[in-house]
């Protein structure tokens, strides 16, 4: 970990201004991802702006019946909030499936969205990695890639986004609110938040330099059956191999998949709106979701896994909605 200076910001705009004026500055929230990466010198900020005590840890009901989640709301508090539990169970479930109790106590809503890939070559500074060191190449291709992307990747990078929470937020049509150094605010639908890796996998979101996330807003509750199914190699405390976030409604005794997003498949929560809405078989839905998939030999098993998991989740939704 390289030396840095540290300050506690006084307000969100001041935090953004502090990051804007100091080259190499970064926000620190829970620190659970950033500090790990700093110890390995994957992140090398020269100045840290602590945004923990800015009053951004509230969950408020919005005028139109949605929910505004402060960027500093801890994962534990988000999942424990009664409104989230009853109206957005998908989100509560996704958050609770992530990391460990200790980490969720610290991890924040904003930090979770911005956590970086767990690609094992990204984590190893001896290896070429376009995301960590633009232009150096991608060691994961031709290497061990069992848990990397099968859709949406580019020739430069096949990393996945590790967040569970983001998958649920994407399915729920969340919007990300930010503030810039000059105090100006922006609302970005999560759908537009993550950038495709393309030739620049190191640029992961549409956030501009020194732009700070202040909150994430959910529209009105969707109702329906909400399921978050995380498939993983151990029963807990493991990143998703594949995860499925689904909101389903029942029509004439059958199930209609209204919202569907996947984790573990791509550089971002993978949602293909075209697969939603109409009454389709699991196979037909998977065909749409996986169109253009380019797995490696190591992770080709994710193709049948997605199909089978999706079918299982649809079956579960059916039985839950029958109840």
């Amino acid at each position: 970990m390289r030396a840095f200076t540290y300050e506690r910001a006084g307000s969100p705009a001041a935090a953004a201004a502090a990051v804007a004026t100091q080259p190499g500055a970064k926000f620190i929230a829970g620190g659970t991802n950033l500090l790990d990466l700093m110890k390995l010198e994957i992140e090398v900020p020269t100045h840290l702006v602590d945004v923990n005590r800015l009053g951004l840890d509230l969950i408020e009901t919005t005028p139109d019946g949605g929910l505004k989640i402060g960027a500093l709301v801890r994962n534990t508090d988000l999942a424990a909030d009664m409104r989230v539990r009853s109206d957005y169970p998908l989100l509560a479930r996704a958050v609770l499936s992530g990391a460990s109790g200790q980490l969720r106590n610290k991890a924040t809503t904003g930090g979770n969205l911005l956590q970086r890939t767990r690609c094992p070559y990204f984590y190893n500074t001896d290896m070429p990695c376009n995301k960590r060191k633009p232009g150096s190449g991608c060691a994961a291709m031709g290497g061990l890639s069992h848990n990397l992307a099968i859709v949406g990747a580019s020739d430069a990078c096949i990393a996945t986004h590790p967040s569970d929470m983001a998958v649920a937020l994407r399915a729920l049509d969340a919007t990300v609110e930010t503030v810039a150094a000059d105090g100006s605010e922006r609302h970005t639908p999560l759908a537009d938040f993550y950038r495709s890796p393309g030739e620049t996998p190191h640029i992961e979101t549409v956030l501009r330099a020194a732009e700070m996330i202040t909150s994430v807003t959910l529209p009105q509750p969707l109702g329906g059956v909400q399921i978050y199914r995380k498939v993983r190699e151990r029963a807990s405390f493991a990143f998703a191999t594949v995860s499925v976030a689904m909101v389903a409604g029942s029509v004439d005794g059958d199930i209609r998949v209204d919202r569907l997003a996947f984790g573990g498949l791509a550089h971002k929560p993978w949602r293909v709106e075209a697969a939603e809405g109409a009454a389709r078989s699991a196979e037909a839905i998977a065909d749409i979701v996986l169109a253009g998939a380019k797995p490696t030999a190591d992770n080709a098993y994710k193709l049948p896994l997605v199909r089978r998991t999706l079918a299982a989740v649809i079956a579960q939704a059916k039985s839950e909605s029958a109840r």
């Binding site: 539990r85 509560a92 990391a99 460990s100 109790g101 106590n105 150096s136 029963a235 807990s236």
Partner: protein, 185 residues
């Protein structure tokens, strides 16, 4: 082929020391620290409270678990400077060999450890887990998100999963916590 390792030419400037005040196990400490010092390292290397262990330094094992303002966290992934005014509880604050906390006694009776290295983290975590269940915080295995989570073995196992034990005292740890549930919840 000759390649240079991934470390760009650079030099290091001195880290400007910052001060911080927090309390550990009820005792206030004011320290001037290199900003890079984690809460774990300040406890161990500066305050010599070595009961809290470094197992991975990456949030992956739970050996460093402490309570900050009543919530358990991994002390390895937080900077000491971020804890101005906080109240920190470590294993040393829970009990002593002469006056064991009931959970420490339960770990002893059920042999909830072998090498003992993960044990402080397990015990702190377990104390917090029982409080979390008591406070109605749900978990991944909670069937009814709108109800109060039950203190079942399944719930406890899920919630304790951030604490690895390579000696694999897991069944005995659960037995120790189960004792506490029966006595206290």
């Amino acid at each position: 082929m000759t390649i240079a390792q991934d470390s760009p030419a650079r030099s290091e400037t001195s880290a400007a020391a910052c001060s911080v005040t927090f309390s550990v196990n009820g005792r206030t400490s004011s320290l001037v620290l290199d900003p890079r010092v984690t809460l774990l390292d300040v406890l161990r290397e500066h305050l010599h409270l070595t009961g809290t262990k470094k197992g991975c330094d990456q949030g992956q094992c739970g050996a460093c678990t402490v309570m900050v303002n009543g919530r358990r966290i991994n002390s390895c992934l937080t900077l000491a400077l971020m804890h101005e005014g906080d109240e920190i509880t470590t294993i040393e604050g829970l009990g002593s060999p002469e006056a064991l906390h009931p959970l420490q006694k339960a770990f002893l009776d059920h042999d909830g450890f072998q090498c003992g290295y993960c044990t402080p983290g397990q015990i702190i975590s377990a104390v917090a887990v029982l409080e979390e269940i008591g406070a109605g915080v749900p978990s991944h295995v909670t069937a009814d998100l709108n109800g109060a989570p039950p203190a079942t073995d399944e719930e406890i196992r899920e919630r304790m999963s951030g604490n690895l034990c390579r000696c694999s005292a897991y069944p005995n740890i659960i037995a120790a916590i189960r004792d506490m549930v029966e006595d206290h919840v």
